[in-house]
């Protein structure tokens, strides 16, 4: 297809958040969604298992069916979707430069919504030692190979990590006749909630807690991993390593753009209307932070669409940039990071996470005065939320650990 040079709304990323927003906005505006993959639908395209779709379609679906349904709904609403289009530059205007088979082109829009999702962090980012043979892949790659291509990259891998996605990796393996030989978790407890943590035991996969991978060995293909755990070092014979979780927003587009990034989330800085530091740009979904479910991202797409609609008709309050600061080193991030007038925005509450198992009390303060608090006994990757302040003022969120 020939890409238009101009549209009302340009959405970057055809996953749950982007498609949800596009579907709503298409009622009142011209909406173009671009995605760099060959097929629209985002990550659920290659999550060939349940549970998806309860919020959106009120039924239990597998990822690929859910992704197709989202795309169908968007197309029926009048959204134009262009795949195999890579955005290469974001500029004020908004002016977006893309490349496709037709080469470079520019798209002007009244508003741009960025919803480019997340990726898992790699073996390199985790500085895991050893050699660099083939067969060390993230869950995303495993799912793509299994569900999109009907392939089996290995037969008896180890799985590093115990986040929700790590259990999705087990399901993906079992689906393809791959038999994981161990699940390895550096912390003393599994990250995902019960009952997910019981799943490997149920499937007879040994779960090694308080254990780290010291080295991956093998020249051409993985042959073994050396792990260090409560009983000392041991070698596990294996032919692959699935490096799961520790998600990072896929926010590369923000590097080298005029838009501000938050080093804590790794995603863009947004206000409670979902606006970036340039208010003609909005962001939603897992790009905002690591990591939430597809359903949650979809809800954020719906919510940010309302803010965008208000923006198109000039009904959004001017962006005030009251900062939100975190105090307490166990707090890893907060979204939104800026507060404009706190009424009826895309974000009705703060989302927070901690970076370690922690007990204590979190409070939200304006001008040194606490307006909300919460007792917590939580771990990384668990949802925490606090209300927004009553007025647009700088907010301090303080964690006092016990």
């Amino acid at each position: 297809m020939t890409l238009p040079q101009e549209t009302d709304i340009l959405v970057i990323g055809a996953g749950p958040a982007g498609l949800a927003a596009a579907t709503i906005l298409a009622k009142t505006a011209r909406v173009l969604v671009v995605d760099r993959e060959a097929t629209a639908g985002g990550i659920p395209r290659h999550c060939g298992h349940y549970p998806f779709g309860m919020r959106e379609f009120h039924r239990l679906m597998k990822g690929p069916d859910y992704a197709r349904a989202l795309v169908e709904r968007a197309v029926q609403a009048g959204v134009t979707i262009a795949t195999r289009v890579n955005v290469v530059q974001l500029e004020p205007g908004p002016l977006v430069t893309v490349t496709s088979d037709a080469g470079l082109s520019e798209i002007r829009a009244k508003i741009v919504l960025i919803a480019t999702g997340v990726r898992e962090s790699s073996r390199a980012q985790r500085l895991i030692g050893g050699e660099k043979p083939g067969g060390i892949i993230p869950t995303g790659a495993l799912q793509g190979l299994v569900y999109l291509e009907g392939r089996r990259p290995f037969r008896r891998p180890v799985i590093l990590g115990t986040e929700l996605v790590s259990f999705s990796a087990i399901m993906t393996c079992l689906h393809a006749g791959i038999r994981p030989v161990a699940m390895i978790e550096p912390n003393a407890e599994a990250t995902a909630r019960w009952p997910a943590a019981l799943y490997p035991r149920l499937k007879g996969i040994p779960l090694h807690l308080s254990t780290s991978i010291r080295a991956i060995e093998g020249r051409e293909r993985v042959e073994r991993v050396i792990v260090d755990g409560p009983t000392g070092m041991q070698a596990i014979e294996t032919d692959g390593v699935i490096v799961t979780g520790k998600f990072r927003p896929e926010a590369t587009l923000f590097d080298g753009s005029h838009l501000e990034k938050d080093p804590k989330t790794g995603g863009p800085v947004v206000d409670n209307f979902g606006r970036c530091s340039d208010p003609a740009y909005f962001a939603a979904g897992n790009l905002l932070r690591p990591v939430e479910t597809a359903g949650w991202s979809w809800s954020e797409g719906v919510a940010v669409a309302r803010s965008i609609e208000a923006g198109l008709t000039g009904k959004l309050p001017a962006p005030a940039t009251q900062p939100v600061t975190l105090k307490g080193d166990a707090l890893s991030w907060v979204v939104p990071q800026r507060i404009s007038v706190p009424s009826d925005g895309a974000h009705q509450r703060f989302q927070l996470r901690v970076n370690r198992k922690v007990k204590g009390r979190i409070s939200a303060r304006v001008g040194g005065v606490e307006y909300a608090s919460l007792s917590i006994d939580t771990r990384p990757e668990r949802r925490i939320s606090l209300p927004l302040p009553p007025t647009a003022q700088p907010v301090e969120i303080v964690l006092e650990a016990k």
Binding site: T99, G103, L127, G134, L145, E149, R221, E250
Partner: protein, 462 residues
């Protein structure tokens, strides 16, 4: 399954053993001289040994030992790269280098290092006081005291360069035989008959460019060796592309007797690397990454450029330098039919073209050079020059982090020197080398590479 041609009957003028950067440059030099060349590589693809992990710098040789063969080869190789890179389509990033003193003792050594540069013919070095140094590199950490600038130290693409050398050799008649390990050889009246795991290769001259295996190959073929391999491991940490904004020059430390020390520099691909370490080991095959060492490299990187602490690591790698007990290269014509090119340590990438000139002279053979040699052009994959994704008809981008297009990938799987492993494809196109390490593109790559690799990326499930 792709196969290189099995050795044809008949005799080659030259058999080069090893398709690392040195072997590739040798093949080109002999082919352009008119020789009938065979290159024998034991791995399934080229650049699989020492040449797969280096710092990707084109050195002037300013700090090489004065009067050494290494210095002469680096200087000649540097010069030839400047002359040919444009015609082959190879990038040259004119970054310049700063040699930075981080202590009083190091500062005291700067004048003698500059004197050494002069003696090595690098006469445009300029001393920099702290202020001038910080004007050039405002991101430097507090400990930096003074420096001198070596304006003509440059960055290059460490894999496209040797690939282009070998490609030019092949386009001018050389034969590459991959997946063939030399298991023995016999002299005869007209040179050698080599036995390989893929058949016999006869040649008038054998050149041992076997890198990390050079001494053992000499033992096997000529029953003795002049040097012993002492592999020196170098670990590197590579940061994601935004970090490349933190430094413009190659940031070198004051070298000591053993190593050039930890370098911080951009790469041709728009990343920033920190490394290498220098760790002697006996193992020639395995270059292990060690988490504590990588952490220490990160820490050192953050001392040199404090802003690095806010940047993401995208890759880690370790290479083995084929060092020996001798400081200089070990290049020797044992007789008219056997030359050893050994001990080509960290400067191999810079020196390769110069080494090839030197070895051609040692060979004392006469050929008829092609009247109109072929000059192939390789596809640029350096971030600093126009890329395929900027032109139409690229078929879409497959690797989103490194912006590798379908057209580039299909081209690298085809042609006279096709990729035969994922590692080989990575070095030709950068696929999966970026921040996501295959999260997004593995499925499509598995499909595109079907039938091209010795071992498929992922088998088809039944």
């Amino acid at each position: 399954m792709p196969n290189d041609d099995l050795p044809a009957s008949g005799r080659f003028d030259v058999a080069i053993i090893g398709a690392g950067v040195v072997g590739c440059a040798l093949a080109r030099r002999f082919a352009l001289a008119g020789a009938k060349v065979a290159v024998i590589e034991k791995a399934v693809d080229i650049l699989d040994g020492a040449s797969k992990g280096n710092s990707a710098i084109l050195h002037t040789g300013f700090d090489a030992p004065v009067g050494s063969l290494e210095q002469a080869c680096v200087a000649a190789g540097y010069q030839e790269y400047l002359e040919i890179h444009g015609r082959l389509g190879l990038p040259l990033i004119k970054s310049g280098a700063l040699v930075i003193a981080w202590s009083e003792e190091e500062e005291a050594l700067l004048p003698s290092l500059m004197e050494q540069a002069h003696q090595n013919g690098v006469t445009d070095v300029e001393p920099l006081g702290e202020r001038a140094m910080r004007q050039l590199e405002p991101g430097l950490g507090n400990g930096a005291r003074a420096a001198f600038r070596v304006p003509r130290e440059y960055l290059i693409d460490p894999w496209s360069a040797p690939f282009a050398y070998l490609l030019q050799a092949v386009e001018n008649g050389a034969r590459i035989i991959r997946g063939a390990e030399v298991t023995g050889g016999e002299r005869d009246s007209d040179g050698w008959t080599l036995q390989t795991t893929r058949g016999k290769v006869a040649a008038r001259l054998v050149v041992n460019a076997a890198g990390l295996w050079g001494d053992l190959l000499d033992e096997k073929l000529i029953g003795g060796r002049d040097f012993h391999m002492k592999p020196r491991k170098g670990q590197f940490v590579v940061y994601d592309k935004p970090a490349s904004k933190l430094a413009s020059h190659i940031l070198l430390p004051v070298p000591n007797k053993i190593t050039k020390g930890v370098v911080v520099c951009r790469t041709a691909f728009g990343n920033l690397l920190v490394g290498p370490t220098a760790e002697d080991q006996d193992d020639r095959e395995h270059a292990l990454l060690v988490p504590e060492t990588l952490e220490a490299l990160k820490k050192r990187g953050e001392e040199i450029l404090p802003a690095l602490k806010d940047h993401q690591v995208t890759a880690i790698y370790a290479g083995l330098r084929p060092a020996t007990e001798f400081k200089d290269y070990c290049i020797k014509a044992h007789d008219r039919s056997y030359i050893t090119v050994g001990g080509i340590r960290s400067t191999g990438l810079s020196a390769a073209l110069g080494i090839a000139q030197h070895v051609l002279k040692l060979a004392e053979l006469q050929f008829n050079p092609p009247v109109d040699p072929v000059w192939p052009t390789v596809s640029n994959i350096s971030e600093y020059f126009p890329r395929d994704w900027q032109r139409e008809g690229h078929g879409g981008i497959v690797c989103h982090c490194e912006m590798a297009t379908k057209r580039e990938i299909l081209a690298a799987l085809d042609g006279p020197l096709p990729a035969r492993s994922l590692a080989g494809l990575k070095r030709r196109t950068r696929v999966t080398m970026g921040r996501c390490q295959g999260f997004f593109c593995s499925a499509e790559l598995a499909q595109l590479t079907d039938g091209h690799f010795d071992r498929p990326m992922a088998e088809k499930a039944q």
